[in-house]
Every structure is written in structure tokens, then in C-alpha cells.
């Protein structure tokens, strides 16, 4: 976006330069001597695993953290690089740096318009000046091709619309450098395409974009340059035109990544059957309407969809945490009368919950207690109302060994585990009992590639053993590589499950956005 002055830096000149940035948190080195230059009008992708230091680097740029060493230089009015005041979001904003965070920083009780003008006026002004702001915004929206209902309360906007508000927020403050942290994580493929179109339009107007991502396939479509971070260091940099996918992937991970391959399976009897099941108040977002689904032994059924379309409700139903309002739910051949999570678990349902921090583990309890928590009433682990500490401990030790849970031991508080290790602990808890049905809700969300492939291997192992797997995920790559059949959830309704071999990404994307299958195909 070019606003005003004639002395804007010309295309190709650096507008931002990070030099030798080092940041430590205690003994953890989040960034080590990172250099990064961004030129006018280009998209730089910052690629790396979780924990590679991408977000820390950007938080230093935006003034949320202060770097221990190194300088941040931003092009000033005349185009020459000047040092940016450290630790001040206000200074970063004034220097033309806009940031779209992964978790949106919007006040949901205000309108989009109010969020955009928030803080752009003196706090002690006697009234909000709306008209001038409105005119500027409408011009910006035309210029950038961004279209969004400005006066609607943010809580009623879709994720894509919220993101557009965030972009407008930055543009409204005359941002010349836009940082986007994992912007595609929550969008449908079509929304991603639309975002990319907007970004192309904006960069051709002179805006520079730093695009943070952990998936290579996404950045190949948009980035001019790809910078790879690993363990806080810059380990590689390449122009998109000459990018080698495999090489970049190995740069990110630092080792060879085994690809998961699904062997043809043997489909057995039906384990879980939903017929016209509705659940939840019909007016609620995320309620289910007449959902039908069957999961058989030895197969993985994938459920695709943008989150918030009923997946949580579906997984609650299958775990026994919610009851249907209408329709029939049959588990292991008989109709369910008692919707009770303990009975479901005892009958052989393994639950890998969506939010592992919140629903998966109990942070204040030890690793050992977390391993056995679902079976604590079983004779093996308690007798006469007393815990059998020794049995619990040996089970936990076996779980830690067998599933490679990195922790200080069975007595360490579970809260200390990293996300990947928490997930391994949950896998150990539920899969070690040879369950008949595995319910995996977003099992790899937020995990690094190594932990992801471990989860995938375990799910395929369960399938090979003859368990049925219901895999709910937002990651299309994951769904397409693991599932035998895929169904799409939208607005609380579930499509028919389609053989994975006969369905493409585009079709799935359109169905996720609410188009019928015939329309989408």
C-alpha cells in the first residue's frame, strides 16, 4: 500500500532488516543470531516447525519481546534503515509494521469498524470521529479488494471475515510491512485462495509481507522467498522458483522424515453406526442435524470440515459425553441406552480429545496418574477403594518406554510435558488397551512433524489390528493419506462418506464451504 510521500523506497530495496537477533528464555534459546531482510513488495515465507522460533522472532519485531542481542532496522520516510525502539508495539505500529496474529486480537463485543479504529485516536478525545475513518477504510477496501461487513459485531463474523478485519486494521494504520502468523490454519482452501489473491494485490501496490507457516505446500503458492528456521536458527533460504520441496522439508526437520503409507486393509463388521442422529439445540452453532455414519472394523473414516461445524458435538456423542436428541446410535452392535463416558471407555472406545491440554490430561496430576486415569476403578489399579501404587507405576513406566514419552519420570506433573509428549501419553493411555473403536479428534493439531508421523503410525497400527478409527481433522493432507473413506461436515450435517481414492482436495474444499457433492464435483 503506498500512502503519500514521494520518497518511498523503490521496489527491491530493503524495508526491514533484522540483524543478529538472539533471544533466550532462561536456558532455552528461542532465536540465535537470526538475520532476515525483507524487500519492498515481496512475500517472504518464514517456515519452520513448532518451536522453531518463528513467532518469537515476529514478537520481537512487533515489540512484544525485547531481543537479548541484535538490531531491528526499518526503512524510514526517506527509505534509509533506522533502528526501531525495542519493546514497544506502539513504535512498531508507527514504523508501519502490522501484525495479524494466529489468534486474532479482536474484541468480539465490538464491531469490525470499532476494532479497526481502536487506539487510532487520542484516548481523551471527547468523541469518536467516524466519518473520516469510514471514508479512508472504504477506499482501502476497494483498493485491496477486501470485502467485509464493517458494522457487524465481530462475534458474528466468520473466521475468514475476522482475518480480513485484522488485515484492514493493519492497512488502516498505513502498514508497509504485514506479518501474518499461520494465516491459513483456520481457512478453507477457497478462503486461502482468496487471501492469496488479496495479498498479491497488496504486494503489487508495494506492501511487503512476512508469511509464517509450518506447511511447505502453502508457502509455495505465495512466497517469493522462503526462509527456513530450525531450533531458533536460520538454516536455509531459497527463492521459490528454485525451491526443492524435499530439501526444504529436511531442512525444517533436520532429518529424514518417514512418509506414512496406508496398506490396503480388511474391512470387518460395523462397530459404530449413527442413523439420522441430531444432537444439541438446533439454534446452536455446532449442533448436529440428521447425521448418518458407519465405522467398521479395520477402516479409518475421516471427517473433514472447518472446525465449529459440528465436529465437537459428533466426537462428544461418540465418546458418550453427549446424547442424541433424535435418531439411533449403535455401538458394537447394540443400541446405546446409557450415554456415559465411563461405560463407553470400558466397552472399548478410545478417546483422543481435541484439546489435549484441557480435556486430554489433568495438568496437576502426575504422568502415572494420567496414564491410568480412565481405568482407575479397574481391579488392576485399585482395590477396596485404595490405589495400587506399584501396579500404576509399572504400567506408567511401560507406557513411557513403549510410547517414548519424554518426561522426568512417572511422578512428574503432566503439565510439564510438551504438546507432542502429552499426545503420546494420551495414545499410551487409550491404545494400550487394544480398543475396538478409536475416536481421534484433531490428533496432530499443533504437533511437529516427528510427533505427527508417530500419531499417524499408531492410528494405522490400530487399523491393522482390526480397530475402527474415526478421524476428525482439519488437515486435508492427513485425511487423504490416512482415511479409507472421507465425509465432510458442514453446518451440522455430514455428507456421505466417499472413497478417498475418488475424491480430490478441491472437491473436499468446496464441500467444506457448504457446497453439495454434485455441485463440487
Amino acid at each position: 500500500m503506498t500512502h503519500g510521500t514521494a520518497a518511498e523506497p523503490a521496489a527491491g530495496e530493503a524495508v526491514l532488516s533484522l540483524r543478529g537477533i538472539t533471544k533466550r528464555f532462561g536456558s532455552l534459546v528461542a532465536n540465535e543470531a537470526v538475520d532476515l531482510d525483507v524487500r519492498r513488495g515481496e512475500v517472504v515465507a518464514l517456515l519452520g516447525e513448532n518451536g522453531a522460533g518463528k513467532t518469537t522472532l515476529m514478537n520481537i519485531l512487533f515489540g512484544h519481546y525485547v531481543a537479548d542481542e541484535g538490531d531491528v532496522l526499518v526503512a524510514g520516510e526517506g527509505g534509509d534503515l533506522q533502528e526501531l525502539d525495542a519493546g514497544s508495539p506502539r513504535a512498531a505500529l508507527a514504523a508501519g509494521i502490522g501484525m495479524v496474529h494466529q489468534h486474532f486480537t479482536l474484541a468480539e463485543n465490538l464491531s469490525g469498524f470499532e476494532n479497526i479504529i481502536l487506539g487510532t485516536q487520542g484516548l481523551l478525545d471527547l468523541s469518536v470521529s467516524r466519518r473520516g475513518a469510514r471514508r479512508k477504510l472504504e477506499a482501502l477496501m476497494r483498493e485491496a479488494g477486501l470485502d467485509v461487513a464493517l458494522d457487524r459485531q465481530v462475534s458474528r463474523l466468520s473466521v475468514g471475515e475476522k482475518q480480513r478485519i485484522e488485515i484492514l486494521k493493519a492497512l488502516y494504520r498505513d502498514a508497509r510491512i504485514l506479518v501474518m502468523d499461520e494465516p491459513t490454519a483456520v481457512l478453507t482452501p477457497q478462503e486461502v485462495e482468496r487471501l492469496f489473491e488479496t495479498l498479491r494485490r497488496l504486494t503489487s501496490g508495494g506492501l511487503s509481507v512476512i508469511f509464517i507457516a509450518h506447511k511447505l505446500s502453502e508457502v509455495l503458492a505465495i512466497a517469493d522467498r522462503i526462509v527456513v528456521l530450525r531450533g531458533g536458527r536460520k538454516v536455509g533460504e531459497t527463492a521459490r522458483s528454485v525451491a526443492d520441496r524435499r530439501l526444504i522439508a529436511e531442512m525444517m526437520v533436520g532429518r529424514h522424515v518417514p512418509t506414512t503409507r496406508r496398506e490396503p486393509g480388511r474391512r470387518g463388521g460395523v462397530l459404530l453406526e449413527l442413523r439420522d442422529v441430531s444432537s444439541g439445540e438446533p439454534s446452536d452453532r455446532g449442533a448436529l442435524t440428521e447425521v448418518s455414519l458407519a465405522v467398521a472394523a479395520g477402516e479409518i473414516i475421516g471427517i473433514a470440515g472447518v472446525s465449529g461445524n459440528g465436529q465437537s458435538r459428533l466426537s462428544a456423542l461418540v465418546a458418550g459425553l453427549a446424547r442424541p436428541r433424535g435418531g439411533v446410535l449403535r455401538l458394537f452392535g447394540s443400541e446405546v441406552s446409557h450415554h456415559d463416558p465411563r461405560r463407553f471407555a470400558a466397552a472399548g472406545v478410545a478417546r483422543i480429545p481435541e484439546d489435549r491440554h484441557h480435556d486430554g490430561i489433568i495438568g496437576g496430576m502426575t504422568v502415572a496418574e494420567n496414564v491410568v486415569v480412565e481405568e482407575i476403578r479397574a481391579k488392576d489399579y485399585s482395590r477396596w477403594g485404595f490405589l495400587r501404587k506399584k501396579a500404576i507405576r509399572s504400567r506408567a513406566e511401560a507406557a513411557i518406554r513403549g510410547y517414548d514419552v519424554r518426561c522426568q519420570g512417572p511422578d512428574a506433573p503432566a503439565r510439564q510435558l510438551s504438546g507432542g509428549n502429552m499426545q503420546k501419553l494420551i495414545l499410551a493411555r487409550v491404545l494400550d488397551r487394544a480398543p475396538r473403536l478409536v475416536l481421534a479428534n484433531q490428533p496432530t493439531r499443533g504437533l511437529d512433524v516427528g510427533a505427527q508421523s508417530e500419531v499417524h503410525r499408531r492410528l494405522l497400527e490400530a487399523r491393522a489390528r482390526g480397530a475402527g478409527v474415526l478421524l476428525i481433522s482439519e488437515d486435508l493432507d492427513e485425511l487423504l493419506s490416512l482415511s479409507d473413506r472421507v465425509a465432510v461436515m458442514h453446518g451440522g450435517r455430514l455428507s456421505e462418506a466417499i472413497e478417498t481414492e475418488r475424491v480430490g482436495r478441491t472437491t473436499l474444499g468446496l464441500m467444506m464451504a457448504g457446497h453439495g457433492r454434485e455441485e463440487a464435483a
Partner: protein, 313 residues
């Protein structure tokens, strides 16, 4: 029939508004704090401190309005303690609030006793007098209801307008509503979450202080132990009833005032049939019922009770 007579008497409505006045200040104060994301349970003690400080200032010879200002400053000071503990340090807002209530109450009694060691019956001051507006005071019904009130009641009505205008018409109000919903939104726009929240708690507590001062400088003319008598807690409930909106806050306060004025008059009508405690209980029971009816749809500020630290999300 007699009940109907109560409800249409000017005297009853005048009493309802008089009882409502300290609550209006209290609810507005609580609302400003909570809109910013901080629950202020110090309110009960701040009422006591405002009542004592304002009264003592006037007793020692200052003019009435100077007493009101001192009550506001003392309220703001206790608010600053609460804000300091809960905003930058992020301590439990419940614990800190109760602590402030106990501190402010005990300190007020202590100062009162120290300043007046030898009095047996509470000394009196000359309180605010009703404003007599020519012509308007002579309107039937409305005259006695509205124009028999003291200046502090008028100030309370004015504060409703001021707070509403501030919240919905100014950049500061926009920031205040945002910080109570998602502090990150304010931080990302380059403003300080900490100073906004501290400012809101101090300002809200100052309003609470004035609410307390009304008791000793307008409703009564002396300071008694236990005179606040749970009014602060009622304000916390009324804030939920009001859905954090100033207009509804006024409505809620007057409704409670009406319940209270009604029970007193009801005692004289059917007094001997029931123990008086039943009547005293009535406004609280009715308030709980009103709360049950509206609170299901209450739209809590999303960041209420949540501390916020820079750089941690």
C-alpha cells in the same frame, strides 16, 4: 387496595429514588471496573470508607462538596490498592477484593474511633438539603418525587449519562470495552492494558466512594458502624442484572429501591401478621428472582477475572 395506594403515592417513589441513589453510584462504579475486566469486591468496604471519610471531613469543618471529593479520593485510593494487586501482579480478584473490603471497613472504624475517642452517641453534621426548584417542585406527583431530592441524587443521574456517553461515544470508552473483552486487542493496537485497567478500577472505586458518602451526608447525618449493610454486594448483583449497561443500571437500582421502600410500607399495612424480618428479606428475595430471570442471558465481559501479562498469550 392499600397496596395499590402505596404504589401510587409520591412519597413511596421519592423514597425509592432516595434508596436507589447510593446503589446507582455503586453499580456504575462496579460496571466501569468490570467492563475493563476487573471484578471489584472491595466495593462494600469502599462504601464504608467513603461514608466515613466524607462525613469526617465535613464534621471537621470542610464544606459538603469538599467532603464528597474526599470520599471519591479515598475510594479511588482503595481502588488503587485493588488494581495494583490484581492488574500488574495478576492476583486473584476475589481474594484481593475481599481483602480490600476488610481493610477499608476496619480502617474506617479505626480512624473514626481514633478521631472521636470520647463520643457515645454519633455526632451529627448538617447534611445536603433537598433542592427546591421553583415551578417544577410544584408539579403534582413528579414534583415531590423528583424535586424533593438532594444534589447527590442529581449527581447520580448525571453520572449515568456521563458513564454512558463515555462508554459508547468516546475513544476511551471503546478501549475500555475492548480491554474487558480481549486485552490482546488493545495491546495489538499499541495501548497499555495495564494503565487502562488501573484507571478504570480507580475511577470506578471513586464512584463507589461517593455512593458511600451519600449515606452519611444526605440520607443520614451521622456515621454508624454497620450502616452500609450489604449495599455493596447488592451493587455487584445489580451489575449482572444491568448487563453492564448504565441505563439498565439505573433501572435496576430504582427497582431495588422500590422493593425496599415497599417492604417498609407493607409492614405498616399487614405488619402484625408476620415477623418484621420477613419484610426486611423481601427486597433481597425479589432481587434474586429478578437476577435469575435476566442473568441467564447475561453477556459477561469475556476477559472478566482474567489477568493479562504482556507478551504471554
Amino acid at each position: 387496595m392499600e397496596i395499590l395506594e402505596i404504589l401510587i403515592s409520591a412519597n413511596f417513589w421519592a423514597a425509592a429514588i432516595r434508596i436507589a441513589t447510593p446503589l446507582i453510584f455503586g453499580v456504575l462504579g462496579a460496571l466501569v471496573c468490570e467492563r475493563a475486566g476487573v471484578l471489584n469486591l472491595g466495593i462494600e468496604g469502599i462504601f464504608v470508607a467513603g461514608a466515613m471519610a466524607g462525613w469526617l471531613a465535613v464534621y471537621l469543618g470542610l464544606p459538603l462538596w469538599a467532603g464528597v471529593a474526599i470520599a471519591a479520593i479515598v475510594g479511588g485510593a482503595f481502588g488503587l490498592i485493588h488494581a495494583g494487586l490484581t492488574v500488574p501482579l495478576g492476583l486473584s480478584q476475589h481474594v484481593s477484593g475481599i481483602g480490600v473490603t476488610m481493610l477499608a471497613t476496619s480502617l474506617s472504624y479505626f480512624v473514626y474511633r481514633t478521631a472521636l475517642p470520647n463520643v457515645s452517641s454519633p455526632p451529627r453534621i448538617v447534611p445536603f438539603q433537598p433542592v427546591d426548584v421553583p415551578v417544577l417542585s410544584d408539579i403534582p406527583f413528579l414534583g415531590p418525587v423528583l424535586f424533593s431530592q438532594t444534589p447527590l441524587t442529581w449527581l447520580a443521574f448525571a453520572m449515568v449519562l456521563v458513564v454512558a456517553w463515555l462508554l459508547y461515544r468516546t475513544p476511551l470508552g471503546l478501549a475500555l470495552r475492548a480491554v474487558g473483552d480481549n486485552p490482546a486487542s488493545v495491546d495489538a493496537q499499541g495501548m497499555s492494558v495495564t494503565s487502562l485497567r488501573i484507571g478504570a478500577v480507580v475511577a470506578g472505586s471513586a464512584l463507589m466512594g461517593i455512593g458511600g458518602a451519600f449515606l452519611t451526608m444526605s440520607a443520614f447525618d451521622a456515621f454508624f458502624f454497620g450502616m452500609v449493610n450489604g449495599r455493596g454486594w447488592i451493587c455487584i448483583a445489580l451489575t449482572v442484572f444491568a448487563s453492564w449497561r448504565p441505563g439498565k443500571a439505573l433501572l435496576g437500582a430504582i427497582l431495588f429501591g422500590a422493593f425496599d421502600a415497599f417492604q417498609v410500607r407493607l409492614q405498616t399495612v399487614i405488619g402484625s401478621a408476620l415477623p418484621s424480618q420477613i419484610f426486611l428479606m423481601l427486597p433481597y428475595v425479589l432481587s434474586i428472582l429478578a437476577l435469575v430471570l435476566v442473568a441467564r442471558r447475561a453477556d459477561y465481559p469475556r476477559a472478566l477475572l482474567q489477568p493479562w501479562f504482556q507478551g504471554q498469550r
